[in-house]
């Protein structure tokens, strides 16, 4: 198990390294950078004092260096000018647009992103496990059809539209608060029971919206797996021997069907994180989504780069968790190396 874990962690670190290079490359694709754009603008207005500051920042964050050097400095593998130390040493760079370190700009957004995605994940599993099971056991029944219809709707509606619609009707008829993740009253206050409740109420719509598409596909998958399993002779044997209807399903077939269900976290998480970016923009949640959009628009490349890297790391960690869970569940994977 330990060898398996070490192996898995190594691949993850390597993947992350490649991803970081890719992300840096993508973020730097547009010609120019935030500061050179700003300098050009300032020059047009003839403000020399601010130009000096911008030039200073350019030097400070090594934007005058060739790109491969910039990458290694950003990563922290190479010393930057004036003690700028890079990601590996915990310096996430400078957000030029907000004129603050990236770590301060994103302080809240980081954990909120994790919270929102975790909530969506929980929602998916809590909803799809019972619904998928019922849909499989009563295949062709009413539940099966209703679940299929909801599934198709979840599949076909763009996330952001679902967000808009739910937001509107949730507010209109149920009084669910609109926008943001916490009531403005509690903004900046320490955590308390009231603030916690407010956050929970604000989480309802985003969780449902982000989770719907994933829930739909999860239900379909669990249903298919369980149907396969239920058709096997041992289930018939159990029935013949008089095992009760619930135990007959839950004891063995469901456990066997759960395996791919958990393996799917790896597929589910990237799409979840993607979806949450878009939904946060629509619902104006203070997560990474809106920050990413703003950073990309203004070529604030340390901010954009860090967000992209963080989001990728989040998906990688999710995959790691799913692999570990699978290894715990399934000894074949633990001992046989890769099962694929």
């Amino acid at each position: 198990m330990i060898r398996y874990l070490a192996n898995r962690l190594m691949t993850m670190a390597l993947t992350l390294a490649v991803v970081s290079a890719l992300v840096f490359f993508i973020v730097n694709l547009p010609p120019g950078d935030f500061l050179s754009n700003q300098i050009a603008e300032l020059q047009a207005q003839g403000e020399s004092a601010s130009i000096e500051k911008a030039e200073f920042l350019r030097k400070q964050y090594s934007l005058d260096q060739p790109q491969w050097k910039q990458y290694f400095i950003w990563l922290g593998a190479m010393p930057g000018p004036d003690g700028y130390s890079g990601l590996l040493q915990g310096d996430w760079g400078w957000s030029f647009e907000f004129d603050q370190p990236v770590s301060e700009v994103l302080e809240e957004a980081l954990w909120l992103t994790v919270v929102v995605n975790l909530a969506a994940m929980l929602f998916i599993y809590v909803v799809s496990l019972p619904l998928g099971t019922i849909a499989a056991v009563r295949a062709g029944g009413i539940t099966d059809y209703v679940v299929a219809i909801i599934g198709y709707i979840g599949l076909a509606t763009p996330n952001f539209l679902l967000a808009l619609i739910l937001l509107y009707y949730g507010q209109q008829y149920l009084g669910i608060p609109i926008g943001g993740l916490v009531d403005p009253v509690y903004e900046g206050e320490p955590m308390s029971w009231a603030k916690f409740k407010s956050i929970l109420a604000h989480l309802i719509v985003p969780t449902i919206v982000i989770g719907t598409a994933g829930t739909a596909s999860m239900i379909r998958r669990l249903r298919a797996n369980l149907l396969d399993e239920l058709g096997k002779p041992y289930v018939a044997t159990a029935k013949a021997k008089g095992v009760g209807p619930v135990k007959r399903v839950v004891k063995y077939p469901l456990r066997a069907a759960l395996n791919p269900f958990i393996a799917d976290i790896g597929n589910l998480l990237p799409s979840l994180v993607s979806g949450s970016v878009l939904v946060s923009v629509v619902l104006s949640l203070p997560t990474l989504g809106p920050a990413l959009l703003a950073a990309l628009r203004s070529q604030d490349h340390y901010l954009a780069g860090f967000i992209l890297l963080f989001v990728s790391a989040l998906t990688l960690v999710g995959m790691l968790i799913s692999d570990i869970l699978l290894a715990i569940l399934d000894p074949r994977i633990r001992f046989g190396g890769r099962s694929r």
């Binding site: 890719l22 076909a156 799409s271 993607s274 959009l293 967000i307 998906t315």
Partner: protein, 383 residues
């Protein structure tokens, strides 16, 4: 009984006809594969309906100028946010030529809104096959013909008008052109990359296989939408709409191929061990030829299915990008660009028809999904 000569082959002297029973217990399975597939597919009602629906839409694409009553960006300042006008077919119980009621706008200075009232007493007959606004047909020549035109001196806003007084229905029809082709171009790119890389990985194995595998792993771990956003933010804003459109489709295709490459690879790995591949190799066929003529046809069905399931994802992707303002930009018209206008809640509350582009998006995505499901079932007729 005459003894059989062991050196001659026994042949049946009876005439052979097409109606001869081929025999066997499974006459169903001995039909040509194409026929089996078609029959299986036809049984999947929903898939057939979806296929017809999609075929109809794609056939409409070359003729959008003809179908739309207005051009996509024609503004009318007198009808900002005009509500939909219903097309009436019956008047006092009798079937008449389709007509609409004229609409007049009045400014409500208390709510700062336009209020539109329909004059129920008057009827304006809609014109068919008429001369309307001029346009360049396929960029070749000037034309004025339309399938349907607003009545003389009146308006025809079948789905209402938007913020600038542009006809929503016409924009939907125009938007179809981009929204439906974006997926086709994207899937072509994804297929090219996926089949090439997956084919190479599966056929050659070794270091090529492991390189491709690592690439697949890296790309699969990237969250799709943020990367799409970053890539499309890199598209220079001064490019022409057509160039932007192609770039966006390329971007959508660039992240889609890993799933396909993976499937192609694993399929090839098993097919490579088959005897017919060995035979082709011994006859001196080159790898490219073996992959193209012997292996790919064997999993064509899989490629078709995964293509039909990937296209809707790309359509949704384009919609999302344009909705966020990072995809296509006006004056280009796509369903995503139209939904960009429906971003805030006031619009949804007061002028819901502006968001009507969501209905075709949903229908098309569903249709592609049903089509894919139907094809998947049909392509495997021996199961």
């Amino acid at each position: 009984m005459t003894p059989l000569d062991p050196n001659t082959r026994y042949t049946d002297t009876a005439a052979y006809g097409d109606d001869t029973d081929i025999g066997g217990a499974r006459p169903d399975l001995d039909m040509p594969t194409g026929k089996l597939i078609r029959r299986r597919f036809m049984r999947h009602r929903l898939a057939v309906v979806s296929a017809l629906f999609l075929a109809f839409l794609y056939l409409c694409i070359p003729f959008v100028e003809l179908i739309a009553p207005y051009s996509a960006n024609q503004r009318n300042a007198d009808y900002l946010y005009a509500p939909p006008q219903a097309l009436h077919f019956f008047h006092e119980g009798a079937l008449v030529a389709p007509y609409v009621h004229p609409v007049t706008a009045k400014a409500d200075l208390e709510k700062f809104q336009w209020t539109y009232t329909q004059d129920q007493t008057q009827r304006q007959t809609v014109r068919w096959f008429c001369k309307g606004e001029p346009y360049r047909f396929w960029g070749l020549f000037e034309a004025r013909g339309h399938l349907i035109c607003p009545p003389e001196g009146g308006t025809l806003y079948l789905l209402g008008a938007d913020r600038l007084g542009r006809d929503v229905f016409s924009r939907l029809v125009y938007g179809m052109r981009i929204s439906l082709t974006v997926g086709l171009i994207g899937i072509t790119i994804s297929l090219l990359i996926g089949v090439t890389l997956g084919g190479m990985a599966g056929y050659f194995g070794g270091w090529i296989d492991s390189t491709v595998q690592r690439m697949i792993e890296v790309i699969r771990s990237l969250p799709e939408l943020p990367i799409w956003l970053a890539l499309s933010a890199a598209v220079p804003p001064q490019w022409s709409p057509v160039a932007v459109f192609f770039m966006i489709s390329v971007i959508l295709g660039l992240l889609d191929w890993p799933g396909l490459a993976r499937a192609v690879r694993s399929k090839l790995l098993s097919l490579r061990e088959e005897e017919f591949v060995r035979a082709a190799e011994l006859l001196g066929a080159k790898p490219a030829r073996i992959i193209r003529t012997h292996l790919i046809p064997n999993f064509m069905s899989h490629i078709v299915v995964s293509a039909s399931l990937s296209i809707p994802a790309m359509i949704l992707g384009e919609t999302a990008l344009s909705f966020l303002g990072l995809g296509l930009r006006p004056p280009a018209v796509s369903w995503g660009v139209m939904l960009n206008d429906a971003q805030d809640l006031t619009v949804i509350e007061f002028y819901p028809w502006v968001a009507s582009a969501m209905i075709p998006v949903m229908l098309v995505v569903l249709a592609f999904n049903f089509l894919g499901d139907g094809l998947r079932d049909a392509m495997d007729p021996y199961n």
